[in-house]
C-alpha cells in the first residue's frame, strides 16, 4: 500500500512492532516549575503575555478545581494509579525567538521534527490542501496557509493569538459550551490550558481547505492542556482534522483537553480526530492519560459531526458530544476505538436533543485485544421540547483473544412521547467462518484478521477525509500487531 504524502505515519525506520512515533526532539523548552497553584497560573499568564481578564478566568477555574478536592470522577470503567497533580509541569513552550513570521525563522530542529512526523511544513503549499497549525507541547509554533484563509476572512490561529487579536470572540464563546464547572478535567484545563487552535468561519463561507492541527507531547512530565474553539457562523462550513502523537515516555503523561464547537444557524462543522498518543509498552508501563472534554452546540438547521479513530493512549476518557439546541439540528458521532496490551478506553458520546425535529446518529466500533478494556458509554437524552426528534445508535464490539474485554453502557433518557430512539449493540469475536474463508484463499492469518477488522470499521473510515482514512487503516494494523495471527 502506498503511503500518501501527507500523513502522520511517515515511516521512520523504527521497528513496526514498536511505537513508530517514539523519538525525542531536542528543542529547548521554556517550562514553568512543577506543581499547580495560583502562582502557576500567574506564571503561565505572564509567560504567554495574556490580558487581565484571562488571568481572572483561569483563577476562577482553578479555584473551582481546588474545590473538587482532587477527586477525579470514578464512574468511568478505567483504573489507574492516583495522579499527582503537583508533580506535573503545566506549561512548556518551545523556545523560539519572538513569533516566527515565516518558516525560515522556525527552529531548524523543529522543522526536522515535523518532517519526521510526516508533516513537511516546507511542502505545505503543494500538499493536499491542508493547512496545519502545529502545536508542539502546548504553544502553536507555525501556522501556514494564512493568506489563503485571510482572503475568505477565516481566522485560523493559535488560541494565544486569538486572545490577543480577537478577544471579543474568545470572551463571547470560550466556556459557553464547556464551562469550567463542567467536570474535573475541564476545570483543570480551563485553569492551565497552554494553547490550542482557534477557528472562526464568517457567515456564509465554505472553508475551501481542510484545516488541521497537530498535537504532540514532547517534554517529559508535561501535561498537554490544549483548548480548541471552533465558531462556524451562520451558513458556514468547515472540516477540521486533528492528529496526535507522543514520544515514548516511561511515566504516564497527562493530557486534558477541551474542544468547543459552536455551529450557528445553518452552519456545518465536521471534526475528525486520529489519536495515537503513546499507549504504553507491552507490560502496560507508561503511556498517555487522555482525558478530553469535547462538545458542540448546534443551533437551528446546523450540523455537527464527530469522527474519531482512537488507537493510542494508555487511558482514553472522551465523549465528543452534541447539544442539539436549535430546531432541525443534526448531530453525528462515528468512532473506532481500539485497545491492545493494557490500554483502557472509556469513550462514547452524548446527544442532548433540545430542539424540535433534531436528529442524531451514533455508530461506534470497539476493538479489544491483548489485556485491553474497551467501553462504549453514551447518553442520548430527549428533552420535553424535542418533538419528533430521532436517534439511531449502533455499537459493535469485536474481541480478539480471551484476556480483553468489551463493555457497552448506553444511557437513554426520553422525556418526549413523540421521540423515536433505536439503540442496538452486539459483541462477538472475529467469525471463524470468515477467517476460514480467507485462509482457504491463501491469506495469512494476520492478513485475514486485518481485512476483517478493516471491514468492521469501514463505515467509520468512510466518514474520514481521504488521507486520514488510509492512515487510520494503517494505524489499526500497527496497533494490532502481535495481537492477531
Amino acid at each position: 500500500m502506498t503511503t500518501p504524502p501527507n500523513t502522520i505515519s511517515r515511516q521512520t525506520g523504527v521497528s513496526q512492532q514498536d511505537y513508530k512515533w517514539g523519538f525525542d526532539i531536542n528543542i529547548d523548552s521554556d517550562a514553568v516549575p512543577k506543581g499547580l497553584s495560583e502562582e502557576t497560573i500567574h506564571q503561565i499568564v505572564a509567560k504567554k503575555g495574556e490580558p487581565e481578564w484571562m488571568l481572572e478566568w483561569r483563577l476562577r477555574a482553578l479555584r473551582h478545581w481546588m474545590k473538587l478536592k482532587q477527586e477525579e470522577p470514578t464512574w468511568a470503567y478505567i483504573s489507574h494509579p492516583p495522579i499527582d497533580f503537583q508533580d506535573i509541569i503545566y506549561y512548556a513552550a518551545p523556545k523560539t525567538k519572538a513569533g516566527p513570521q515565516s518558516l525560515d525563522e522556525v527552529d531548524p530542529e523543529l522543522v526536522t521534527a515535523f518532517n519526521k512526523l510526516g508533516i513537511p511544513l516546507q511542502e505545505q503549499k503543494q500538499l493536499a490542501g491542508v493547512a496545519i497549525d502545529a502545536v508542539l507541547d502546548s504553544a502553536s509554533v507555525a501556522t501556514t496557509y494564512k493568506k489563503t484563509l485571510d482572503k475568505y476572512g477565516i481566522i485560523f490561529c493559535s488560541f494565544t493569538e486569538a486572545i490577543k487579536e480577537h478577544p471579543e470572540l474568545v470572551k463571547k464563546y470560550m466556556g459557553s459550551v464547556v464551562p469550567y464547572t463542567d467536570n474535573f478535567y475541564a476545570a483543570l484545563n480551563s485553569a492551565v490550558f497552554s494553547d490550542g487552535s482557534f477557528i472562526y468561519i464568517p457567515k456564509g463561507v465554505r472553508c475551501p481547505i481542510e484545516l488541521m492541527t497537530y498535537f504532540r507531547i514532547n517534554l517529559a512530565n508535561t501535561g498537554q492542556f490544549e483548548r480548541t474553539l471552533i465558531i462556524a457562523d451562520e451558513g458556514s462550513y468547515v472540516s477540521y482534522l486533528e492528529g496526535c502523537t507522543a514520544p515514548i515516555r516511561k511515566q504516564n503523561q497527562l493530557h486534558a483537553a477541551i474542544v468547543e464547537i459552536i455551529a450557528l444557524d445553518n452552519a456545518q462543522v465536521k471534526y475528525s480526530t486520529l489519536q495515537n498518543w503513546y499507549p504504553g509498552d507491552k507490560e502496560g508501563k507508561g503511556g498517555v492519560f487522555n482525558f478530553v472534554t469535547k462538545r458542540g452546540k448546534a443551533m437551528e438547521n446546523s450540523k455537527i459531526s464527530w469522527t474519531q479513530v482512537e488507537t493510542g493512549s494508555a487511558i482514553t476518557w472522551k465523549y465528543p458530544s452534541v447539544i442539539l439546541q436549535g430546531d432541525n439540528s443534526v448531530g453525528e458521532f462515528y468512532s473506532v476505538a481500539l485497545v491492545n496490551n493494557y490500554q483502557q478506553a472509556d469513550t462514547g458520546t452524548k446527544m442532548i436533543h433540545i430542539g424540535k425535529n433534531t436528529k442524531s446518529t451514533i455508530v461506534a466500533k470497539g476493538i479489544s485485544a491483548g489485556h485491553g478494556n474497551n467501553t462504549y458509554r453514551g447518553l442520548v437524552r430527549f428533552m420535553p421540547g424535542a418533538t419528533n426528534a430521532k436517534n439511531y445508535s449502533q455499537c459493535d464490539s469485536l474481541l480478539i483473544g480471551d484476556k480483553c474485554s468489551a463493555n457497552t453502557v448506553p444511557y437513554i433518557e426520553v422525556k418526549n412521547s413523540t421521540a423515536r430512539i433505536e439503540h442496538e449493540a452486539s459483541t462477538s469475536k472475529v467469525s471463524d467462518d470468515q477467517l476460514f474463508y480467507c485462509l482457504q484463499r491463501g491469506m495469512s492469518s494476520e492478513e485475514a484478521h486485518h481485512m476483517i477488522i478493516k471491514g468492521f470499521c469501514k463505515g467509520i473510515f468512510n466518514e474520514l477525509p481521504f488521507e486520514f482514512a488510509v492512515e487510520a487503516s494503517q494505524l489499526l494494523r500497527v496497533s494490532l500487531e502481535g495481537a492477531v495471527g
Partner: protein, 463 residues
C-alpha cells in the same frame, strides 16, 4: 496498569459496594428491631438470630441508597421518600377468600400460601400436596431446619444491599417452597402477599420467600404482591430461588400495589448445571417501585429468561433492574422488558449482563422497548453489557417512542377508528411479553387484567 480482568474487579467493587446513604430513620428501624427481637414468639434458632443481627448492623451502616454520587445502581430512582418516611410494623390484618379473588389470580386447585400484612394466614392457604413442601418459613424452621439453614440468605447478599439487609433484620416469616429431586408437583404454587391496613400511619412489611428446587425437578410458582387499600405503605420483599442441576423453574411475579405505596422487590436466583429459569414479571407503578432481579449462572449449560411488562400512569415511578452474571461457559440468557407509559409517570429499565472470563460460548440477548403514550411521561433505559470472554454472542437493544403512525394509518385505512386501532396495538405490544409467561392459566388472567387496564392507557393521536 491493570489488565481487563483486574479492571473488572475494580468496576465490580465500585458498583457493588454501596455508598453510605440516608440514615435518618435508622434509629426508628433499630427501635423496631429491638421490640422484634424481644418478642419471644419470633425468636427462632440462634443462627437466624445472628443473621438478623448482621442484617440490622449492615443496614445501620449503609442507610438507604440515596447518595447522588457513586450510586450507579440507583441512578434513576431516588429512594429519599422511603428513607425519610416513618413506617410502623404492620398490624395483623383480616382478609377473606372472596376479597382475594377480586384482587389477584386465584385458583383453589393450586397450592396457595397467603400472607396478610406479612403474617401467614393458615385459613386462606392450602394444605401441602403433590410431593412439594410448601409452608411458611416459621413452620419450616421447625420441621426442616437444616434445609432452610443451608439456603436462607445464601443468594440474597446483605453485604451489598441495604434493602436486603433490612429485610433480613426483620426476617420472621415468609414463604418456603422446597421440591425434592426429580419431582414435578401436580399443582402450581401461588404465594400471595397482601397488604390491608387498619392504622392511620403508614406501615411496613418485609416479605421473604425462599424457593429451593432439587436436581431434575420442575416447578411453577406465581408470586403476587397486592393490596386492599389505596394508601401509603412500604413493601420490602426479598425472594431467593435456588434452581438445582437440570431443574426447571417457571416463575411469574405479579405486582399491583397501591399507587401511593412503596415497593422494593429483590429477586436473587442461583442456577445449577443445565438448569432453566423462566421468570416473567408484571408490574404497575407505585409512588416508588423497584423490581430488582439478579440471576447467577454459576454452572455450565444453564439458561435463564427474564421478561417483564410494566405499565405506569399518573405520577408513578417504576424501576426494573435486571442483572445476569454469566460465570460459567455454555449458558444462555434472554432479557426482554417492555413498558407502556401514560400520564406523568416514569419508568426505568437498567439491565446489566456480565460475561466473565471463563464464560465462553455465552449467548446473551437483552432488550427493552418503551411505548410512551403521553406528554410528560419519561422512559430511562440503560441496557449494559460487560464482556470478558471472546467466544460469545451478545447483543442488546433499546427503543422508545410512540405508536408507529404508519401502522396506525394502515389500520385506519381498513376502517378502524383511532381509538380501537390504538388499543389493539397497545394490547399487541403487551401480549408479546404476556405470551411468554410460563404458567398457562395465569397467562390468561394476565391478558384479561391488562385489557382491563387499557382505558387508562389510551393512545391520543397527534393533530
Amino acid at each position: 496498569m491493570v489488565n481487563a480482568a483486574q479492571l473488572h474487579e475494580v468496576i465490580e467493587r465500585r458498583l457493588v459496594t454501596p455508598v453510605k446513604g440516608d440514615q435518618s430513620q435508622v434509629g426508628m428501624y433499630e427501635e423496631q428491631f429491638r421490640a422484634f427481637t424481644n418478642d419471644s414468639k419470633a425468636a427462632g434458632p440462634s443462627w437466624l438470630r445472628h443473621m438478623r443481627e448482621q442484617g440490622m448492623a449492615r443496614f445501620a451502616e449503609l442507610g438507604f441508597p440515596t447518595a447522588q454520587r457513586g450510586n450507579e445502581r440507583w441512578k434513576y430512582t431516588n429512594v429519599a421518600p422511603i428513607a425519610r418516611a416513618t413506617f410502623a410494623p404492620a398490624p395483623t390484618g383480616r382478609m377473606t377468600a372472596a376479597a382475594l379473588t377480586k384482587l389477584a389470580f386465584w385458583n383453589k386447585q393450586w397450592t396457595n400460601l397467603v400472607f396478610v400484612n406479612g403474617k401467614f394466614s393458615k385459613t386462606l392457604s392450602s394444605e401441602m400436596a403433590g410431593g412439594v413442601y410448601a409452608a411458611n418459613l416459621a413452620d419450616a424452621l421447625v420441621s426442616q431446619p437444616d434445609l432452610v439453614r443451608s439456603h436462607l440468605g445464601k443468594y440474597a447478599s446483605l453485604a451489598s444491599d441495604a434493602f436486603i439487609a433490612l429485610n433480613t433484620a426483620f426476617l420472621r416469616d415468609g414463604a418456603f417452597v422446597s421440591v425434592p429431586a426429580d419431582t414435578v408437583p401436580t399443582a402450581p404454587l401461588h404465594i400471595i402477599f397482601v397488604t390491608t391496613k387498619t392504622t392511620a400511619e403508614p406501615t411496613v412489611t418485609h416479605p421473604r420467600t425462599l424457593i429451593v428446587v432439587g436436581n431434575g425437578s420442575k416447578v411453577r410458582v406465581l408470586e403476587s404482591y397486592i393490596t386492599l387499600v389505596e394508601d401509603s405503605y412500604f413493601t420490602n420483599a426479598v425472594t431467593e430461588i435456588y434452581v438445582g442441576n437440570s431443574a426447571t423453574v417457571d416463575h411469574c411475579r405479579f405486582m399491583v400495589e397501591s399507587p401511593m405505596s412503596y415497593h422494593i422487590g429483590m429477586t436473587r436466583a442461583y442456577q445449577g448445571q443445565d438448569s432453566l429459569l423462566t421468570s416473567v414479571s408484571f408490574s404497575t407503578g407505585t409512588a416508588i417501585a423497584r423490581n430488582d432481579v439478579h440471576a447467577n449462572l454459576d454452572a455450565p449449560g444453564s439458561t435463564c429468561v427474564l421478561n417483564g411488562l410494566y405499565m405506569t400512569t399518573g405520577q408513578e415511578h417504576l424501576d426494573n433492574s435486571i442483572n445476569i452474571d454469566h460465570v460459567k461457559p455454555h449458558c444462555t440468557s434472554r432479557e426482554y422488558y417492555k413498558g407502556i407509559l401514560a400520564g406523568q409517570s416514569r419508568a426505568v429499565f437498567s439491565g446489566r449482563v456480565v460475561v466473565h472470563q471463563d464464560a465462553q460460548k455465552t449467548d446473551a440477548v437483552q432488550e427493552d422497548k418503551n411505548l410512551i403514550l403521553s406528554e410528560g411521561a419519561e422512559a430511562d433505559s440503560k441496557p449494559s453489557l460487560e464482556i470478558l470472554a471472546d467466544d460469545v454472542k451478545c447483543k442488546h437493544g433499546a427503543t422508545a417512542g410512540q405508536i408507529d403512525l404508519d401502522t396506525l394509518f394502515y389500520m385506519r385505512a381498513r376502517g378502524l377508528d383511532v381509538e380501537t386501532a390504538g388499543s389493539m396495538l397497545i394490547h399487541a405490544f403487551a401480549n408479546e411479553i404476556i405470551n411468554t409467561a410460563p404458567i398457562e392459566q395465569y397467562r390468561e388472567y394476565l391478558r384479561d387484567y391488562t385489557e382491563k387496564l387499557l382505558p387508562e392507557f389510551k393512545f391520543v393521536a397527534p393533530e
